[in-house]
């Protein structure tokens, strides 16, 4: 089977986020770049499905020139093909992004590469738009499931599960299909040394889609402020347990 996994380059944030002047971008001077944990899992799932069923795993991204780094990281963990939808660095809104991905999938189909499964992360780490997979599915006339944390494929159908109120909802999906996955669907592998060497030399299928304009336009970013609380120190080590216990009792939380 042929599986496509879509990823997005984002800064690797950990501590407090700082903005550059103009408040339209994150200050990335001291940050590396990565993809969302959901997307790492999408790539891993694509590679595992191809290992089990044959075929090929393709990784695709839409983004600036530097996004090739994220494609190579996916090749290093087992993707065979890499497609770069190159932009000039401006942000594409989710509608524009979905349109370009759907066009790329159609172009691949016309060139003889049809995908059985299009995998996405459930939402991008940065913009959290929650809609690109659904829009791509709609554009291509494919069924779609989102929020998936378990996936099995058998005989042209997929069984997909997502968490709901502590239990699971089970979906039965005919292939080809779009599946948006969440972290936890697998534990992604680390790149091997041969994988990294292969990635460095991998051919990147570079395309330049035309930007159709945005309907959702960022004006500026804001770091939410004033959230630090004044923490009351209860003490050091086990001796502080009685103070903690009395707080919990006073909150009425001991049944």
């Amino acid at each position: 089977m042929n599986v496509l996994a879509c990823v997005k380059r984002v800064p690797a944030t950990a501590g407090r986020i700082r903005l550059v002047e103009g408040d339209r971008e994150i200050d990335t001077r001291y940050l590396g770049f990565t993809v969302s944990p959901h997307e790492e899992c999408a790539v891993e799932e694509a590679v595992r499905l191809v290992e089990a069923n044959g075929g090929s795993a393709t990784v695709l991204t839409l983004g600036p020139e530097e996004s090739v780094d994220q494609l190579r990281s996916a090749v290093a963990v087992g993707a065979q093909r890499a497609v770069h939808l190159a932009t000039d660095g401006r942000e594409w809104d989710p509608g524009a992004t979905a349109g370009a991905i759907a066009d790329a999938v159609r172009a691949d189909r016309d060139a003889g590469m049809s995908y059985d499964l299009l995998l996405f992360g459930n939402e991008a780490a940065d913009t959290g738009d929650y809609q690109v997979p659904v829009r791509v599915a709609h554009a291509l006339g494919l069924p779609c499931v989102t929020g998936i944390k378990q996936l099995s494929v058998d005989d042209g159908r997929a069984t997909a599960k997502r968490e709901a109120s502590g239990g699971w909802e089970v979906f039965d999906v005919p292939l080809p299909a779009v599946v948006a996955v969440r972290e936890g669907i697998n534990l992604p592998r680390f790149a091997s040394v041969p994988g990294r060497l292969r990635a460095r030399k991998a051919a990147i299928d570079r395309r330049e889609p035309a930007w159709p304009g945005n309907a959702l336009d960022m004006v500026r970013l804001v770091v939410p402020g004033g959230e630090d609380k004044r923490v009351e120190m209860l003490g050091q080590g086990p001796e502080a347990a009685p103070a903690a216990a009395s707080i919990i009792r006073n909150l009425g939380l001991v049944p």
Binding site: D126, Q131, C144, M218, M233, E239
Partner: protein, 315 residues
């Protein structure tokens, strides 16, 4: 300007996140708000007030959640009432149904908004990075589709019964290709992270999978649930279903007890809706202290063991 709100419900009881969306809708459009729900008996007080509540009544919808079909039904009502804005809660289903509405209508969507202001184009504030950053944006569309970030808007229940208008949505065969075909219930007696009044979270500072035993004991005493940080699931100490954070569960308990968790920004966004946070950490400079109401400096295993003993002693 008519605003149409998609509301989720359980046996007719409107879900909290949907009431939040309805509250934001009234702030935007005053009385010019209508709602749409999939089935259910909505007689009496709903919290939505005396508005028109469109209820999809179709046996094809009765067989379990079908995302595209629900989206088709909402898009149908949006067209019939001439909605300028379609709103939905920023829940799993709300975001998914809204995405279908936007795709079917060829309109833009802004997910997880915390505020929306009337202007042309519409001005929204929405969460980025799971909530560690906000974005002010404009949304050019009619209808513009918006989902409302959970816990961002305080619910104002509107009194009065809704006027129910049932309708049969124009479903297409493809809309029913994907639906919930089975449900697996959580193990009996297990409190889910999302619903627990007390959550006890463990991080790398618990030292290993066995370090969570004492957290289970504490959670058991308080009728709560155990959660963990991403470092813990990545290390394989706990299943991913226990993970709290941007790519795991969002929790909103009365008390979150964070043990051996330093508090990466991705973890904080998953627990900051907790009413109170108590932290146990060896590092008094750990970022989670800035989000905490109370802190104990020390080894989490030893401190929690002492806390369990203290609570058991009933002093």
């Amino acid at each position: 300007m008519t605003v149409l709100v998609f509301v989720e419900h359980e046996d007719g009881a409107i879900a909290e996140a949907s009431l939040e969306a309805a509250t934001l809708a009234r702030r935007l459009a005053g009385d010019d708000v209508q709602a749409v729900a999939m089935g259910g008996d909505h007689a009496g007080e709903t919290g939505l007030g005396p508005i028109t509540l469109h209820v999809a009544d179709d046996e094809r919808l009765a067989g379990g959640y079908a995302p595209a079909a629900w989206g088709r039904a909402v898009a149908d009502v949006a067209g019939r009432v001439g909605a300028a804005v379609v709103m939905a809660p920023g829940t799993d289903r709300g975001n998914e149904v809204a995405a279908y509405v936007a795709a079917f209508l060829g309109q833009p969507m802004a997910a997880n908004c915390t505020d929306v202001r009337p202007a042309d184009p519409l001005e929204v504030t929405r969460v980025r990075w799971g909530g560690s950053l906000l974005e002010e944006a404009t949304l050019r569309g009619s209808p513009a589709v918006i989902t409302v970030s959970p816990h961002a808007v305080g619910v104002e229940r509107a009194p009065g019964a809704a006027s129910v208008a049932t309708f049969r949505p124009p479903l297409q065969d493809d809309d029913l290709r994907v639906r919930v075909t089975a449900k697996e219930q959580p193990p009996a007696g297990k409190v889910s992270l999302g619903e627990a009044r007390v959550v006890v979270g463990g991080g790398r500072g618990m030292g290993g999978a066995d370090g969570f035993q004492v957290l289970e004991e504490l959670a058991g005493l308080l009728g709560g649930a155990v959660g963990c940080s991403r470092a813990v699931t990545s290390a394989g100490w706990r299943p991913h279903t226990d993970q709290i954070g941007q790519t795991g569960a969002r929790i909103a308990p009365d008390l979150y007890i964070a043990c051996g968790i330093s508090g990466a920004i991705q973890h904080i966004v998953g627990c900051k809706a907790a009413k109170r946070i108590m932290t146990v950490n060896t590092d008094p400079e750990a970022p989670i202290l800035a989000q905490s109401d109370w802190a104990i400096v020390g080894d989490a295993r030893a401190v929690v063991a002492a806390l369990v003993a203290e609570l058991r002693s009933g002093a």
